[in-house]
Assembly symmetry: C2
Amino acid sequence: MNQINEMIQRQLQHRTIREFKDISISREVFDTLMEIARRTATSNGMQSYSIIRVTAPSIKKAIAEVCKQEYVGRAPELLIFMVDQFRNNNIAKEKGPTTENAADMDRFFQGFTDACLASQNVVNAAEAMDLGAVYLGSILNDPIKICEVLNLPKLTFPVVGLGIGYPNQHPQLKPRFENRLRVFENSYRIFDSYLEEIKDYDEEMTTYYDLRNANRRVDSFSDQVVTKLDTSMSNRQEILKAIRQQGFQIDI
Amino acid sequence: MNQINEMIQRQLQHRTIREFKDISISREVFDTLMEIARRTATSNGMQSYSIIRVTAPSIKKAIAEVCKQEYVGRAPELLIFMVDQFRNNNIAKEKGPTTENAADMDRFFQGFTDACLASQNVVNAAEAMDLGAVYLGSILNDPIKICEVLNLPKLTFPVVGLGIGYPNQHPQLKPRFENRLRVFENSYRIFDSYLEEIKDYDEEMTTYYDLRNANRRVDSFSDQVVTKLDTSMSNRQEILKAIRQQGFQIDI
């Protein structure tokens, strides 16, 4: 039971780590992380995802530019998790005439889910081995550019990036709103006033120091929501176009 | 280091568990699982996902019917993870005039990713506490029905279900293809013949006994791929329509 508590404790202590020690990850540790990815649950048993390990400095730099986060280029390990229907489609084609079903949005979402689950399983394994990780949703600032840089064929699509290494910072645990606003029983619960419900949380958030912003305090959660919802990056609005450009069928 | 190995070992031993002992999960254990969900990494810090815990037998039954898997109705815990842009949109609206950005597909994918990451974190925590879990991608057989049954408002969308309980079966570890077909360096690698590359894996798969099919051996992986790609459920092809029906902007 102590061992188990250790696992749970690590999960409860999860922090995003953006600055890493200048120590590379051993081959053995890396292979273990990838073996964990391989053992992750996968939709329909189809394993419709792949991972690209980025080691070339020029490609790291190109991805960091898409992410608009220079620390991405400094992560000891940089992984891109992706939808992969290309592989299974090729298996089917080699077996004989096949449908276009690998290109449908149902399969796209299966691959998207697979990629996400594998990434979180890898994060948990990394943290279990005293590594830290940063998720990079920002690769979707420009998915087409990511496809070009990594030579992603049709029927594949980038989902999320992960920077991994030995932590060189100790961020504060980030406040999250209470589960009564997130976990419901049998039916979605709508609250009369969300601002009222998150009042304490809004206050708590302002005591959080974000290491990215020179240790300055952050806005309240509701102010962050307003700011972030007001901001829209044009490329990020093109995600369906990019998915279609990668060969998936977007017909409505 | 022994404790850490224990974590990794559990992840490497992951199996889908579909049959559970008739023992309910304690309040304490359940709350721990939900606290793990709460601490999961989330896109942009926005926490754009929610969870519905299904306890009402009639709702469990309705969901099992969508899944076409009767064991779903018997899972001691049944959780539905969902995109939730409704909550933040309401927070923004209470603060003043707001944009329609919470409804865009960029935010949809952020919430989808959040929901997936939280589900895998919960699975790892569950397995750490000797529980077993089954992912239910099959809730997307009919997302609109799921929305109706759970009263999901606009700007929310079901992503994946999870059945959790104490395992009452010991499935064989499911064969997976090798990582050289899944993990690439710097550039996507295309193979000349996938059938050739997965020859041993195809063979290995036929030695796997799927407990769902009365202990019968399963097809080779390539045969499964052909069968599964040939099969398309019509409702599952309507996923973008369903996403639009839930209020998200699908403009291409």
